[in-house]
């Protein structure tokens, strides 16, 4: 069995999870604690990947990240290489696809934080950034862990968007889900079985790790 797709899947999931947690935490904080003009439009936009078919989202990303798309163009101008059919390309696609899964649990736990804690921090002289890092985040570890679990598992299972944006280039963009699909298509059921059964303990170990790090999630509170 070729282990490279499995390695790529895990690498993609880890990178997406880390980047999305870093991006989604302040974004969720702003969405929950600040009044913004057009906030509902922004929230709907963030949640769009949940309702859009992955191939539709993948198609739009293909257009935007292609050589004639604004993102692909800008990328090529900056780095001198194309974005499509690269690992970086599937990471960006994955970030957009999984963003709502990172934001939703964090928003949920931020909303449950007692506003008086925030007010207390304000009168104690904390700047909004310090309130976020010293009050909101330390008291929202369950939400952060839930986001991490969802994003990691969602990314491991990604198929349509990755296929549209990354294709199936071995060692670059051919992740486990695509490798399983291709094995089945080629009637190599044994390979498909092995790859599928390997993903189960990987996901299980990740869940276990996050539960250990944040006991509240494991306890269901």
């Amino acid at each position: 069995m070729d282990l490279l797709p499995l390695y790529l899947s895990i690498k993609l999931a880890v990178v997406s999870t880390v980047v999305l947690i870093i991006l989604a935490a302040p974004l969720s904080y702003v969405l929950v604690f600040y009044r913004l003009p057009g906030k509902s439009f922004l929230e709907a936009l963030i949640n769009l990947p949940i309702v859009l078919p992955p191939t539709v989202l993948g198609f739009y990303l293909l257009v935007v990240m292609g050589p004639k798309g604004w993102l692909g163009n800008a990328w090529e101008a900056m780095f001198g290489s194309p974005l499509l059919f690269t690992f970086t390309g599937i990471v960006i696609a994955s970030l957009i696809y999984s963003l709502p899964f990172a934001v939703a649990p964090m928003k949920s736990v931020f909303t449950r934080i007692d506003r008086r804690l925030v007010e207390n921090a304000q009168v104690l002289g904390l700047h909004p950034v310090a309130i976020f890092s010293r009050v909101i985040l330390p008291n929202s570890l369950t939400g952060v862990a839930a986001s991490a679990i969802l994003v990691f598992l969602h990314t491991i299972g990604e198929f349509g968007v990755i296929l549209m944006v990354g294709g199936s280039i071995p060692g670059k963009t051919k992740v486990a889900s695509i490798a399983i699909y291709e094995s089945v298509e080629a009637l190599r059921y044994h390979d498909a079985w092995l790859m599928s059964i390997t993903l189960v303990p990987v996901c299980y170990v990740f869940l276990l790790l996050v539960n250990r790090l944040t006991p509240e999630v494991g306890n269901g509170s």
């Binding site: 207390n120 304000q122 009168v123 010293r134």
Partner: protein, 252 residues
């Protein structure tokens, strides 16, 4: 005076309209029935809410002036605020809570010892009693060396014994602090016990008559009560109804 306040704000049920001041080392107690606008007053002083019109200034430094469109953010006012409910940070132990915004960490030990919770310094808030949590909240507010101390019914969620203990502690430290202290309560006994000045507020207005009515009709006094509180409005134009109770003993 050191802290001058004039607030006008339209609330849902009535208009809040008060003016008063509080000097260094003095405790002014805002007393009145529930829903009178007491908490709104100190939230506006702290900068947690805005006022429609008015001015708040400490020693000539303007915190709020609606005419000049000045509204200093809460974090820049340097107030200590003790909330009605427990607002300690649940992820921190007692020591770290008290030291959360401390300027001088050496002060923390003194404060925790003064309020008799030094032995609990390593405990998280959920492991200590309500009274101990509120003492920690007071330490937290004092540790940042505030310029004004605001207390919003800080003892109301406590049992009688803890309440009494904390009242006595606050009474003994208020002069040492040497800053204006504004304390909100609906408990007239607490007001009389702690206050240098009392500001009775009913439906958003200063109503000295309310306290007279309460005192003489409800006979809401303990067997013995010593107080040197002055009851009434601090602003001169509203001083016509004023009652002074000085070192009196009330016996059944």
């Amino acid at each position: 005076m050191d802290l001058e306040i004039r607030i006008r704000k339209k609330l849902k049920l009535f208009d809040l309209d008060v003016a008063f001041s509080c000097g260094d080392g003095k405790m002014l107690v805002i007393v009145g029935p529930s829903g009178a606008g007491k908490t709104t007053i100190i939230r506006i002083i702290a900068g947690l809410e805005r006022t429609d019109a008015g001015r708040i200034a400490l020693k000539g430094e303007t915190w709020t002036d609606t005419a000049a469109r000045i509204n200093l953010p809460a974090r820049k006012r340097g107030v200590g605020y003790v909330f009605q409910e427990f607002t300690l940070f649940p992820n921190l132990n007692v020591y770290d809570n008290a030291a959360f915004a401390a300027r001088d960490r050496e002060l923390i030990e003194d404060l925790l010892r003064m309020f008799d919770i030094w032995h609990l310094r390593k405990n998280k808030p959920h492991l200590i009693s309500g009274g101990e949590r509120q003492r920690c909240a007071i330490c937290q507010a004092l540790a940042r060396e505030p310029r004004v101390l605001l207390m919003d019914e800080p003892f109301s969620a406590l049992d009688a014994l803890s309440r009494r203990k904390l009242r006595e502690m606050m009474k003994s430290v208020k002069r040492e602090l040497g800053i204006p202290i504004i304390h909100v309560t609906h408990d007239i006994r607490e007001a009389l016990f702690l206050a240098d000045d009392i500001l009775p507020v009913v439906q958003g207005k200063v109503e000295p008559k309310w306290i007279l009515q309460f005192m003489f009709t409800a006979r809401e006094f303990d067997r013995s009560m010593c107080t040197d509180a002055r009851v009434g409005s601090v602003s001169e134009e509203e001083d016509d109804i004023e009652l002074s109770i000085r070192k009196k003993e009330y016996r059944r």
